[in-house]
Each structure stands twice: as C-alpha cells, then as structure tokens.
C-alpha cells in the first residue's frame, strides 16, 4: 500500500510527538501517551456490554427534493459514539467508554487507522460514508458481561442510575478516568503489565462504599489493597488481528461505469453532488454530460464533455459553474484509470 508518510513532529517545533499530523496512524509512546476522542470501532461488543447505550435503528430513505420518503433505507453501522482511544506506542492501546464508564477492549502493536474519518492524505479527501476508524494491531482483551466493578456487592450495570463520566486527568504518562456511581466517585487507571498481553487496572473509590470486582472472563487476578482500592491484573490472549483500512482496489473488474460507481462512493462525491437533480454544495450530476454549463466569469457557456468533466475532477477551480463557490472542492488525486471509470459512471447518470 502506497501510504503517505506522516510528517514527523520535529523536536525543535516545541510540539509533543503526539500532536496530530496529516498521518492517519497517530501513535503515542510509553512516556507520552496519545489520548484520542473520536468515533471508536465496535468489535461486536454486544448489547450487554453496551447496556447503557440506546439502540439505533434503520430509517427510511428520504428525499429533500420530494419532501417525502423514497424507496430504500439507511442502515445503522457499528461504532462507539463517545468512547476514548488511548495509545502507549506498540505496548498498549485501549478503548475506554464514557457511556458505560468501563474499559471495553485492549490491543497492542498498533492503534487506529483514521482514514475513514480524516481521509487519505495521498489523495487529499475522505473516502467513506462512515467515520469510524479501523483498528490496527492485536486485540487481547474484550469486555464481556456486566460491568465488572461493584459497589456494595452490586455490579454497576445493576445500579438504577447509570454511572456518570466526570472526566480525566493526564499528567506525564498517567491517564486517570473518573466517574460517579451513586454517591461514590471511582478513579480508573489502565496500564500494561510486565509480560505480553498483560494488563493492570487500578481502581480507587472516594465517597464511601466498598469496591468490588467480578468478571466472568478468565485471567483476572483481583488484589484488594483496601476497601477503597483494587488492583486488577488481566492476562489476556490474542482475540483478533486488525490491519487498518483495507487497500481497496476500486477498479476490480476493469475500467467501466460499474467500477466508476465504486470510485464515486469511495470518494464520497455524493456529499456535494446529488444524483437526482437536487441541490447541494455542488451541481447535481444528473444529466450533466453533454450539457452546456454557465461558467463564472466566462462569456460563453462550456460544454460538459469528457475533457470538461475530467478537468472538473482534477482541477475543480479551473471552471466554476455559476452559482457555486470557488475554492471549495478539493482537487482529487485519483489514479489515471480511476478518473476514466468515474467519467464513465458520470456519463450514465441520465
């Protein structure tokens, strides 16, 4: 994969090495962890673990042009809306959730591939419908069952009021999450253990109540330091391997309108160009090929022939259709055959 090389933060810049660059695979280090709030991947955690989340549902497709529903539906996708990703370099990555107030999964040898959210730096644009990054590395712990933390012998999943996320502190390499459970305030710190796939979680409670820990998963050792402090050691083992964003060959099956449709979808063109004639940020592509286009600042219209359409993708500001903004659409960096396929697809939009 011809992944663009991420610009490295120069030491002289005064910026931390964790500052987020154009690179899609941000990383922290054991001394300087990276904490990233973003949509997080949901590796099939299931309804019990995500018990404090509400369920989304499919929704009828809607046309703003017609002002009514049209055939088809929007299907929900997997993702965690308000979780936090933390990375300590190759040693440890974990996902901690602010809704469940709980560690959801842990992996190493990588963190997140942000391409779905941030776009492909080599192409200069986003390339997906969803905004959920892809995992990179080896997952070795995944939450299961009820919330393992207990107050007064009761799992936090069984408390009438959900736990409430209060925030976190980040000092040096330590990140400590806080949440309330009833009248108690619980602090949680996750770090890697001495051996591979080993994890140490420290819990401390303020405000009374006895802290407990009960997990149905194997490999847990619970050390009770005091009624208000626990150290849980988890020996995980490999659950799954993730490779980041797949290197999709959009032109599988040749250069034709069908593969052009895949290019159109992958580049998220529809975000600005409708296919049904309705208005959006850019002109609709319905019936565009062969039409005369009124160009801003030009005396006579331009014919939207093959050359015009290719130019409009490569260098969108060369000719801006009257009524649309300049310097808005980024120049798209496609492979030569992808331009051709996209053109063939656009020609079918009649």
């Amino acid at each position: 994969m011809a992944a663009a090389v991420a610009p490295v933060i120069a030491e002289s810049s005064g910026l931390p090495s964790t500052a987020l660059t154009y690179g899609n695979r941000p990383l922290g280090s054991p001394e300087e962890p990276l904490l990233l709030r973003t949509f997080m991947p949901d590796p099939s955690l299931g309804d019990e673990v995500l018990g404090r989340h509400e369920r989304g549902a499919k929704s009828p497709r809607y046309s703003a042009k017609k002002g009514s529903d049209v055939p088809g539906e929007y299907k929900p996708i997997d993702g965690l809306p308000a979780a936090i990703g933390v990375n300590y370099g190759s040693a440890l990555s974990y996902c901690w959730d602010t809704v469940e107030c709980r560690l959801l999964y842990v992996w190493n040898n990588g963190f997140l591939d942000m391409q779905n959210y941030w776009g492909d730096p080599s192409r200069g644009n986003r390339q997906s419908f969803g905004y959920v990054p892809n995992l990179v590395g080896t997952m070795f712990y995944k939450a299961g069952g009820k919330h393992p933390v207990q107050m007064g012998g009761k799992s936090l999943s069984d408390l009438p009021e959900p736990p409430k996320f209060l925030g976190y502190t980040k000092t040096g390499k330590r990140i400590i999450f806080s949440y309330s459970a009833g009248s108690a305030e619980i602090a949680c710190e996750v770090s890697s253990g001495d051996v591979a796939h080993n994890l140490v979680i420290r819990y401390k409670v303020k405000g009374g109540g006895e802290l407990g820990y009960q997990s149905s998963l194997p490999g847990h050792t619970v050390k009770k330091v005091s009624p208000s402090e626990l150290i849980v050691t988890i020996q995980g083992s490999k659950i799954a391997q993730y490779e980041g964003s797949p290197n999709k060959n959009l032109l599988k099956g040749g250069v034709n309108a069908e593969s052009g449709k895949r290019v159109f979808a992958a580049m998220a063109c529809v975000t600005c160009h409708s296919l049904d004639g309705s208005k959006s940020h850019g002109p609709s592509l319905l019936g565009i090929h062969g039409k005369e286009r009124k160009i801003k600042g030009a005396n006579k219209p331009a014919l939207a022939d093959d050359a015009y359409i290719l130019e409009s993708i490569r260098n969108p500001n060369a000719k801006v259709v009257d009524g649309y903004p300049e310097n808005y659409m980024p120049p798209y960096q496609l492979k030569k055959d992808e331009y051709q396929a996209l053109l063939l697809y656009i020609k079918t939009l009649k």
């Binding site: 005064g14 931390p16 904490l35 709030r37 509400e54 703003a64 644009n125 959920v132 925030g167 975000t271």
Partner: protein
C-alpha cells in the same frame, strides 16, 4: 410616476429608473488587509475555534484534537506556537476562562480544560455536561458562547443524511427524529441549550439546522447563523430567544411538550410557518453568504462599523456585514459584503477580535479534507474609511440610508430597488420568489443620508437596493453596490 416631495432634503429630486445592473462591483481592497497566519506545518490547520485569553494569547482549536496557543506578533509567519491541550473530538467551540483555563465544546460534551500544575500544558479535563445524544453522525458538531453569567449557550447541530448513525447511540433515540435530510435522531440536535453556571442544562430554542456559530452581543442578545439547506431557502441570521422555534422541524421531536408519535416532517407547511420565528436577516445565498458560521460584533478600532455584526461564510471567501434595524421593537435589517475575496480563505468558521479591537482573527475549515479552505487568517484595518453604507433604517414608505461620507452628485439612474421573498420548506435551498422591480418614487440626499421612497413596501419580503456610479463628495467610489434589507414588518 414621480412623487415630488418638498422635504428638508437639500437634494435634487430625480426621475425613476428600474435597472438591474450586472456590471462589476467595486469592492473595498484598500481598507482591510487580510494575511494568512502560519500554523505549525506538520498539523492540518482545520480550525474548529479561535479565542483570546486575558493576556492576549490566541488559542486555536484544531478539529483533529489539538489546541495550540501563541502570542500574536507582527509577522504573521512567525507566531511561536505552543501546544496546550489535546484529545478533543471535533472541537468546534471554545471559550477562554483565564490563561491556562478553557472550555471546549466537542462532539460528545462540554469540557473544562485546565493547566492545574502551571507547566503550560493542560492536565485536567472535566466533563461539564454531556446532556445531548451522540448518534455516530459526523455532522453533529457544537458551538458555544458565554451567557454573561458564568454559563454558556450551546448550539447543537443536526446530523446529515450524508453520514450514517450507529447501532448503539448515546442518549435517547427517536425513529421519527431520525427521518429527513438533516435530522435529530438523538436528543437536542437542532437546539440551542443553556448551561447555567451551576451546571443545570435546559433547552432554550429549537428549529435549527446547522447553527454553526453562536454569539452574545454587547446588549445581551443571542445570535445564530444557519446554513442554507433543507428548510433554509437561503442563509439566515436569527435573533435567538427562549422558547422560540426557528423553522427546521426535526428538532421538535425533543420538545417536552411535543405530542408522542407526531412527525414534524408530515406537518402542513402552513402549520410550521405559523410556528416559526423568522430570520432577522436573510442573506441571499449566491450574492452574499452561502453558509453562515460564527457571528462577531465589531468593536471600536476596526473602522467605521463598530457595533455592527460580521458573519463569516463557510462556503465562500467572504464575510458579510450585518446592519440591524429595530422596527416595532423587533430586529430585522440588512446585509452587504465586508470582505469579498481579497485573499480571504474559503471555509470561514470562527472569528475573534483582539482585545484592542484592531485585529480580527478568523479560523477556516470546511470538512477537513479540502486544503483550500483551512487555516488561520487575520484582518486589520488600514485606518482609511471606505465610502459605504453605514446603516439602513426602514421608514414609512421607504428607507433612509446613512453613508460613511457625504454623498456627491446623484445621477438619475443611481439607485434601483427590487424585491423578492423566500419560502421555507423541505427542499435544499430555494429560489428568490415573486421577484419584482419596485417603483422608486423619490430619492435624494442630505449630507451623508439618502432617502429612498418605494411605492409599495410589503412585509415578509427582501428588498435589494442597488447603486450605480455613486461617489462620495470627496470622489471616493462606493465600496459596495448591493444591499439586502429583510423586511419582516413595516413601521407601525
């Protein structure tokens, strides 16, 4: 037909002309200078928010999650940026409480960020409120402004059909709210919420689409722009008041008084129209502003328009100037260009004035994947006053325009008036409807004032006032030729 009036205007009375002028307009280029401020080159300059602290340090929130800070210096290329905080999900709102103490509105929450150990870097990130849902849709960004009493107003944006929602969402989910182009599948999308100093969160106003920018003016009024789109025929500016509904229906499902099962998208247009509060100012999409973002009040020291409002355009290299007019106790008013081109980046998102009022810093971003509309710029006044319209006041039967300088001779075809209306409905954007040329029955000047009488003024229309060849007495050309006055109501 002419109405010859003998009034105190020491002006020539001119014949009527109906002209639609398409000649090129003269825009100010010598009055305000636009410069690009360099950020560290390694970082994508997708600017979610810009604010100053009390010591004059500029804070810049980048949408991937970092917050930088620097003291502005003379050379825009040489700001010494330091890293202050990180880890925010699409930080699109920021207020600085004190040096080293900021409030960030990010997608899932409002966060208080503090440097508690004084090392120059934030270490405490406390959730102030997460009283809204998160559906997994990229479009649900938030913006804040202070309420003047230690709390905040939070503008909670809707989701877009150009992105999905998740199987598991945060907060209550509404199947009805999820319908539509821009939608409100989880709580408080399309609302302005109020966060009081004691941490209580209450719904304040509904009916917004993408009020990407909220501001409290020096009189205590709250203002929001919105983006042209569904239920927005053109870009509006709203005077936001408690309990009002501003026309985009999806948010209504979260109104505590909303009947269960009622689908706002299936309401008759008449019913929605009767419920809604109209924009104080409508900004024609193509002509003025495609997508309003943060409004900002002009301070003293930035030229002749102190007290007026500037409104950034997220989709064009423009900034709109708003001239409010209070008619029968309600705001309405007019707009024209403040900056049009002149090296301004597209993607105008946030703006803040320096404490001395002399410099406007603007933060630009579109969606973070276009490089033509990202960065920080600053705008400074040259000290020269342009010849321009300073304000437009509605009178009985016409308008009085105040100019920044004394008017010169007026040609007979110097002024024309046209009007049209917009319709708010489901469709994405909408045309100027019932366009008509208006009969100017009188126009004449007295020093820096120009009176224009129009034969028939009607409420709920936008009046375009267009000038041709007007010069100041000192010979300066008119900086702007076209003005749009939103006439919600006539003078009683």
């Amino acid at each position: 037909m002419n109405y010859l009036k003998s009034i105190s205007f020491a002006a020539r009375v001119l014949s009527i002309v109906f002209l639609t002028i398409s000649s090129s307009l003269v825009y100010s280029t010598d009055y305000w200078k636009v410069e690009t401020v360099d950020l560290p080159k390694e970082l994508p300059p997708e600017v979610g928010a810009v604010q100053f602290d009390s010591e004059g340090t500029l804070y810049v929130a980048l949408r991937r999650g970092d917050v930088l800070m620097a003291k502005p210096v003379a050379d825009a290329k040489k700001f010494q940026w330091k890293h202050f905080a990180s880890g925010f999900h699409n930080a699109c709102g920021m207020e600085v409480v004190a040096p080293g103490h900021i409030v960030i509105s990010q997608m899932p929450e409002l966060t208080e960020v503090k440097d508690t150990d004084g090392d120059g870097t934030a270490d405490s990130y406390r959730t102030m409120t997460d009283a809204w849902g998160v559906s997994g849709n990229y479009h649900e960004t938030n913006e804040i402004c202070p309420d003047g009493k230690g709390g905040y107003y939070i503008a909670v944006g809707t989701a877009s059909h150009n992105g999905p929602t998740f199987h598991h969402v945060r907060g209550n989910y509404s199947k009805i709210g999820r319908r539509g182009r821009n939608f409100s599948g989880v709580q408080w999308k399309g609302w302005v919420m109020h966060y009081s100093k004691d941490g209580k969160v209450t719904p304040f106003a509904s009916g917004f689409r993408m009020h990407n920018g909220i501001m409290r003016d020096s009189k205590g009024n709250i203002w929001c722009g919105d983006n042209q789109g569904d239920w927005r025929a053109t870009t509006p500016l709203y005077h936001v008041r408690k309990g009002n509904f501003y026309g985009h229906p999806s948010s209504l499902v979260w109104d505590p008084k909303w009947p269960e099962g009622k689908d706002p998208l299936k309401m008759p247009l008449k019913e929605i129209d009767a419920m809604r509060t109209r924009p104080a100012v409508l900004l024609p999409h193509k002509e003025m502003n495609r997508s309003a973002s943060e409004p900002v009040e002009i301070p003293e020291g930035f030229g002749p328009f102190a007290g007026q409002m500037l409104l950034l355009d997220n989709n064009s290299s423009r900034i709109t100037r708003i001239m409010l007019d209070k008619v029968n106790g309600e705001y309405q008013g007019s707009c024209t260009h403040f900056i049009n081109g002149q090296g301004l980046l597209s993607g105008g998102n946030r703006a803040v004035f320096s404490a001395d009022g002399k410099t406007l810093f603007t933060g630009h971003t579109v969606r973070g994947w276009g490089k033509l509309a990202e960065g920080v710029q600053r705008i400074t006044w040259s000290g020269t006053t342009p010849f321009d319209v300073h304000g437009i006041a509605l009178e009985k039967g016409g308008f009085t325009l105040k100019f920044t300088k004394e008017l010169g001779e007026l040609a007979s075809d110097a002024c024309s008036v046209r009007s049209f209306r917009y319709e708010s409905k489901w469709i994405y954007g909408g045309p100027m409807l019932d366009q008509r040329d208006e009969k100017v029955t009188f126009f004449g000047s007295n020093a820096n004032k120009l009176k224009i009488d129009v034969q028939k003024l009607e409420p709920l229309r936008v009046y375009e006032i267009r000038f041709k060849g007007i010069k100041a007495k000192d010979g300066s050309p008119l900086a702007n030729a076209v003005f749009y006055y939103t006439l919600n109501q006539l003078q009683k």
